[in-house]
Each structure stands twice: as C-alpha cells, then as structure tokens.
C-alpha cells in the first residue's frame, strides 16, 4: 500500500498579509484590489497594476543583497516549519528535500543587473531560478534533493506533486514544497503585450473579465510521510496530499486547447491517482485566471468531469483576491485547499460582480460557505498547456 503523505504545516506570504492566519481571515472577509506599481513611466509600461505583497523593507535596497523572492520564501518556510511543529535542528537525521516552483525566480536582482553592472554576488548567483530553493536548504540545513520547477503558471502544483512522489518513493521523509513569485517588469511587459491583462482587477469567471492581473505570492508547505508524523507524535494534520494528474495541450504557447480535452484528462488522472471519483469531490479550486477563453474552457471541462454534480460543488476562485502568482499559484492554491479541509469553510470569490452564465459554475461571491469537505480538486494550467490537477483530502 502506498504511504500516506500529509500536509502538516503551511507558511503563506501574499497580498493578504504575512501569515497564514491573516491570509485566511482576509480571504474570507476582506476586499482586495490590485494597485499600481510605480516604477516606470506609463509610456514605457502602460499597465502596471498588480497585487503586491506589502513589505516593510525597501525593495530596491534589499534586492541588491538578497532577492525578495528568496527572502520571503525563507520567511514562509520558517512559518511552515513552525506551523508543523518542526525545529530544523531536530531534523539533522531526517532526509528533508525541497521542491519549489517559480517562473521568474530572482527577477528583482536580475532586472537590477540589467541596469547596474556592479551587483553584489558572483557566478553562482547567475542561477537566478534555482537560488530560491537552494537558499531555503542552506538556511535550514536540508540536504535532500533540491529541485526547482519552472513549468510557468503550474510550477507550484508540479512542485507539490514531485515532493509527494519523493516521499512515496522513500527518497525523503519530509519535503518543503511551494512556490515563490514576485513582480517582474519583463513578465508584466510581456503579459501587457499579449493583451492578457485586465485593467481593473482579476475577475475569474465574471461576465466582464478581460484578462488576468499579476499577484505576488509565496507559499511553503510541509509534506511529511505519515510514518514520520506518527513517530514524532504529530497530532495536528491539515490535509493529505492524495494524488496528481498531468497532461499537456501541445497546442499553442499561450492559448488553451479549445476543447479542453487535455485539462479534462489531467483532472481524471488526478482523481484516479487519488483513488476517488467525482462523487467524492466537494470543492474545486479552479485555475480561474480571469482570462476569457481559459475560464470558459476550464468551466466546460469541469462540467464534463462532474456532470450535473458540478452545481453542487463549492467552487472558489482565489485569484480574484490574490491576482495570479504564476509559478507560485498552484502552491498557494494547495495551501488554501489544506486550510479549507482543516477548517471546513470555503472562501468566497473576490472581485466578481456577475458570474458568467456561459461558464455556469456555482461561484459564491458574498460570504464564506461553511461546509464539510472531504476532498478538494486543485487545477493549475500554464503557458504551453502544461496542465496539472491535484487532489487533497482530510488529514
């Protein structure tokens, strides 16, 4: 029998605050809107709206020494360890690995280096994508496999899935899995040029949605074998990571495959890997970016997978309040799913006025929904059609 893999701790830093508890409270009860990023004249970058992480340290100054993407990931990992009741010094005999997703990595340091030649650091800092995960392991003394995934906007979920497999295969007993994404000038510029940005807010499944809005986000989750958790006497468990399903559209670099057959395949594979049926899923966290065609294709695929039951699902599109955190988004969603399972409450979707009838999803926008949730399906899709769905269940 396959070993159970548990989520025993969560650390979150998001536009909704610097703690998992603050995140949860805001996700349930507060409004959240994007703001302008005041770095370039509008003539150079017309749309600079994003959901930013409020940071008490001046970004430009600190980025010269350490990227915000890395500094915040180190902080989130510390929170996750604390939440799991793990002390790094006690883990010296345990193989702890790291799987982290990021699309743009240390983009702040990279972009400073484009304007300033004399940035502190040497050749090793050239590896701007994998430095986040490397610094996590260096900081906390984790010597297990240390992997960075950059499957664009699904990287965070792939990081979770790979971490799960490392535990199942016995390569590690504990994994730190997550993602880190901060504002990137180039990323914003390219999304603007692709016409993929909504000028108002991220409005998933809204009838007036016009694209996505970038959001910064950092999530770290502690994944642990049940045996390891039992041995250390851990009673509190947020959730179980039950399985994942992968697929690839192989259709277009930016547009979704219009029939949705491959994202449907990913969902069905995830259900199968988790050993559940559509009847067992009570809640879905869709990819839901606010992009017109993507939201529609995902809705239609959900309708095919769940049939009439789709109306009974609790669907929460969290990017409405968070924006789209790219390579971290899947990890943020998995952390949210774990919190939903532990707390028995489904957050409302923010910034949606009128749910698009064509999408036909039962999205609640006004208030949280208390509900007994057995299993949550989390979708994450990306440029190039790099799809993944994962299933989390009760711990």
């Amino acid at each position: 029998m396959t070993a159970r893999v548990l989520v025993t701790g969560v650390g979150l830093i998001s536009p909704l605050g610097h703690s998992a508890r603050g995140y949860w409270e805001s996700l349930l009860y507060r409004e959240s809107l994007p703001q302008e990023h005041p770095t370039l004249p509008p003539a150079l970058l017309p749309n600079q709206r994003y959901y930013g992480i409020a940071d008490d340290e001046p970004a430009e100054e600190t980025a010269r020494a350490e990227s915000r993407a890395t500094r915040l990931a180190v902080k989130a990992t510390g929170m996750a360890l604390d939440d799991a009741g793990l002390i790094p010094a006690d883990l010296s005999r345990t193989t702890v690995g790291v799987c982290f997703g990021t699309g743009m990595g240390e983009s702040d340091r990279l972009e400073i280096s484009h304007t300033e030649a004399a940035l502190r650091g040497d050749a090793p800092s050239s590896f701007f994508l994998s430095r986040i995960a490397a610094r996590l392991a260096e900081t906390y003394g984790f010597t297990g496999a240390n992997t960075t995934l950059s499957t664009a906007c699904s990287a965070g979920s792939y990081a979770m899935a790979l971490a799960h497999e490392r535990i199942v295969s016995g390569e590690a007993e504990v994994m730190v899995a997550g993602g880190s994404e901060i504002y990137s000038r180039v990323g914003q510029g390219c999304f603007h040029r692709l016409g993929a940005l909504d000028p108002v807010a991220c409005r998933p499944f809204d009838v007036d949605r016009k694209g996505t809005v970038f959001g910064e986000g950092v999530a770290a989750l502690i994944l642990e074998s049940e045996e390891h958790a039992r041995r250390r006497g851990r009673r509190r468990v947020l959730a179980q990571f039950e399985g994942a399903g992968w697929s690839c559209d192989g259709y277009h670099t930016t547009a979704p495959e219009p029939t949705g057959r491959w994202i449907e395949a990913a969902m069905l594979r995830a259900l199968s890997a988790a050993g559940v049926t559509p009847q067992d899923i009570d809640c879905v966290l869709p990819h839901g970016t606010g992009t017109s065609l993507n939201d529609l294709v995902e809705s239609q695929a959900l309708a095919r997978v769940f049939g009439d039951r789709v109306r009974d699902l609790k669907v929460s599109a969290i990017k409405g309040k968070l924006g789209h955190s790219g390579g971290s988004a899947g990890a943020v969603a998995c952390a949210t799913a774990a919190m939903i399972l532990e707390r028995g409450v489904v957050p409302p979707t923010g910034n949606v006025n009128v749910v698009d009838a064509e999408c036909g999803l039962p999205i609640r926008v006004d208030a949280p929904t208390p509900a007994s949730i057995r299993h949550v399906l989390v979708n994450a899709y990306a440029f190039g059609g790099n799809n993944i769905s994962v299933v989390l269940g009760r711990g």
């Binding site: 370039l40 003539a43 150079l44 017309p46 690995g97 790291v98 990021t102 699309g103 990595g105 990279l110 972009e111 484009h114 040497d122 050749a123 090793p124 050239s126 590896f127 994508l129 994998s130 430095r131 995960a133 490397a134 392991a137 984790f142 010597t143 297990g144 496999a145 240390n146 992997t147 960075t148 995934l149 950059s150 499957t151 664009a152 790979l162 497999e165 000038r185 180039v186 990323g187 914003q188 510029g189 390219c190 999304f191 603007h192 040029r193 692709l194 016409g195 992968w246 697929s247 690839c248 559209d249 192989g250 670099t253 930016t254 491959w262 395949a265 440029f383 190039g384 059609g385 790099n386």
Partner: protein, 344 residues
C-alpha cells in the same frame, strides 16, 4: 523489481558536435588537439532551417531552436515514428539559461522604448518553459510537459524524472534532456574551459522491454541516481557523513561488485564537481575498489545543464558495463547518475 528503462535515441546540438559521430571524433581527438581558445564557443554551423524547415522558426528563441533540432535528431535516432500515441509521450527538460539573454533583451526594450515595442509573436518567449512547450506542439507530446531549472543538474534530474514517469505508467515514451541558451558572462570566470554559446542534448527513453520488442537500438540503460544538496560538503568545510552520505549509497548506485568504478566527469574546473568526485573516490577506496576517472574533453565547452548530458554520451561511447555520471552546481547541488551498458 523496478522496471528497466532504456535510452534509445540521442540528439545533440552543440558548438563542437551536432551528431553522435562528431561527438565521438572530438571526444577521441583530444590528445592531438590544440587548446581551446576564447571565452565563448559559438554555435557557428547551426542552421535551424536544416532541422525545422525554411519557415516557422523566426520567432523562436535560439535555445528553443536547439531543443527542437535535438528532439528531431533524437526521435530519428530512436526510429520511434508513430509507435506511441501522443497521450503516451511526455517531455521533461532541464535548463538554466534558456531565457537569460531573452530576458535581458526584452528588459532593454522595455526600459529604452517601452513594452509596446516587444513583438506580440515573441512576447511568450520570456517564459522558460516555452522551449519544452514548443516540443510538445511540434512533436505531439501530450502525456506531460515539465521544465526543471535546478542549477547544472536539471538535465540529470529530467532524465531521472522521465524514467520515474515511465515506471509509474504516466507515459510509454519520454523525451528528456537539457538545453541552454547564452549564459551570463559572470560564469566565464568560474569555469576553466570556455562557455558554450548554447546547446541541447535530448534523449528518448522507453521501458527496456518495449524498446526490445520494437527492435530499437539501445544506447544504454538508466541506473539508480542520487540527488543531494551539499553546499558545506562540496565547499569542503564538513565531512560527507555529516550530510548523510554513506558508502552504502555508492553500493546502491553502482552495485555491490563493480570494480573499478568508472566516474564520468565534466573536467571544467568547478571545485565542487572535483570534490564530489573525490568523495566517491574515497568511498570506493575504503570499500576496496578502484576508481577510474573519465574526464570529458574541454573542447565541448561548459554548458550548464547540457554538460552532464554529454558525460552520459561519453559513457555510452565508452563500451564499459557501468558508469557513474558526476555533476555538481556552484549552489551546492550534487548529482550521481548511474548508467549501464546497452542490454543484449
């Protein structure tokens, strides 16, 4: 018992060699060759039209073009044709610098003339997973598509993940390997040989039983691998045992009886790679085994995640029964990748 995974197709695009035959020639000619000059090895004779047709590659980044060309060579070498359906074929690639120069160019455009000057057809190229995505689009690889960006060892990770996906039944064929575009100049002082301008090395992986059934030529078989994060160990300030290393791990990787142990190294002057080789050497010695070290010619240049792939080719051409490919990153990643000779 774990399913055995075969390497049945190899595609290489690099400054010194863009075919297995050239690779073998350069590999063997080292003794007579003059030292490599310059700081950057250019990809002078790469003609994308030769691999990708006259049209359709204009908006692709150089690294994407290398990857598409190497994929075509690998698939042709494997002779796999349409043997597997699209949903049975996956791709997993490693890269560190596929978009390094792309990001610099785009950022320069934004800062000088504005984001509106980025061409829409090229706007998606900022994302590092686009090369792998283009592989899926062109060659119909629908099972999965993953890009790993771990410093220097991501190609070996990709091969190990590809093999694991085959064992789990997630695919029946995987295209795995590494690609690189232009690397940061800062690296030119870190490694002793020149930096390659770019390269790609892709491999077709299949379950050994399926490969034999369809009569494929088998270049080699994937053995066990070990991935660790050892900055203090590779920096030489702590003992390997403190990070959980044991001689048993070596036995797990190369089998209990293998003597000598053949190490395949990059030989690019990275002190962390050298230290990793020394650790394996010491473990083998204390177990009464000899170690024979095979150093890749520096004529191939240093090419981050692609260099360990070339070490795999070095093993495949060696005719030896078993070998261990060694790679480390300046950040502290360590990879030991076991390989076996083609099964009869």
């Amino acid at each position: 018992m774990r399913d055995r995974i075969a390497l049945t197709g190899i595609g290489l695009v690099s400054p010194a060699a863009s075919s297995l035959e050239t690779f073998a020639r350069v590999r063997g000619a080292e003794a007579d060759a003059a030292p490599v000059g310059g700081r950057m090895l250019p990809l002078l004779d790469f003609d994308p039209a030769r691999y990708l047709g006259e049209r359709g590659f204009k908006y692709l980044t150089p690294a994407t073009q290398y990857a598409l060309a190497a994929a075509r060579l690998a698939l042709e070498d494997a002779g796999v044709g349409d043997y597997y359906q699209g949903e049975e074929r996956g791709v997993v690639l490693g890269t560190n610098f596929a978009v390094w120069s792309v990001l610099a160019d785009m950022d320069a455009t934004i800062l000088r003339t504005g984001a509106d000057q980025i061409r829409p057809m090229e706007a998606a190229n900022f994302s590092v997973n686009i090369p792998a995505s283009q592989l899926s689009i062109r060659y119909g690889l629908h099972a999965f598509n993953v890009t790993l960006t771990t410093a220097r060892i991501a190609g070996l990770e990709a091969v190990a993940l590809g093999a694991e996906c085959l064992r789990r039944g997630r695919a029946r064929m995987v295209l795995a390997g590494a690609l690189e575009g232009r690397a940061p100049e800062a690296l030119q002082g870190y490694f002793s040989p020149p930096i390659a301008e770019g390269a790609a090395c892709l491999m077709v992986l299949e379950p050994l039983s399926a490969a034999l059934e369809r009569g494929a030529r088998v270049h080699g078989e994937i053995g066990p691998s070990l991935f660790r994060f050892w900055p203090a160990v590779l920096g030489g300030v702590s003992a390997p045992a403190e990070s959980g290393w044991s001689e048993g791990m070596l036995a797990d990787l190369v089998g209990p009886g293998l003597d000598p142990v053949h190490l395949f190294e990059a030989g690019h002057g990275c002190p962390r790679c050298e230290r990793l080789a020394q650790i394996v050497d010491a473990a083998a010695s204390s177990a009464g085994r000899r170690v024979e070290r095979h150093v890749l010619s520096d004529r191939f240049g240093e090419c981050s995640t692609v260099s360990p792939m070339m070490q795999v080719l070095d093993f495949c051409l060696s005719g030896l029964d078993a070998g261990l490919v060694v790679a480390a990153s300046p950040q502290g990643h360590a990879a030991l990748s076991g390989w076996l000779r083609a099964a009869a």
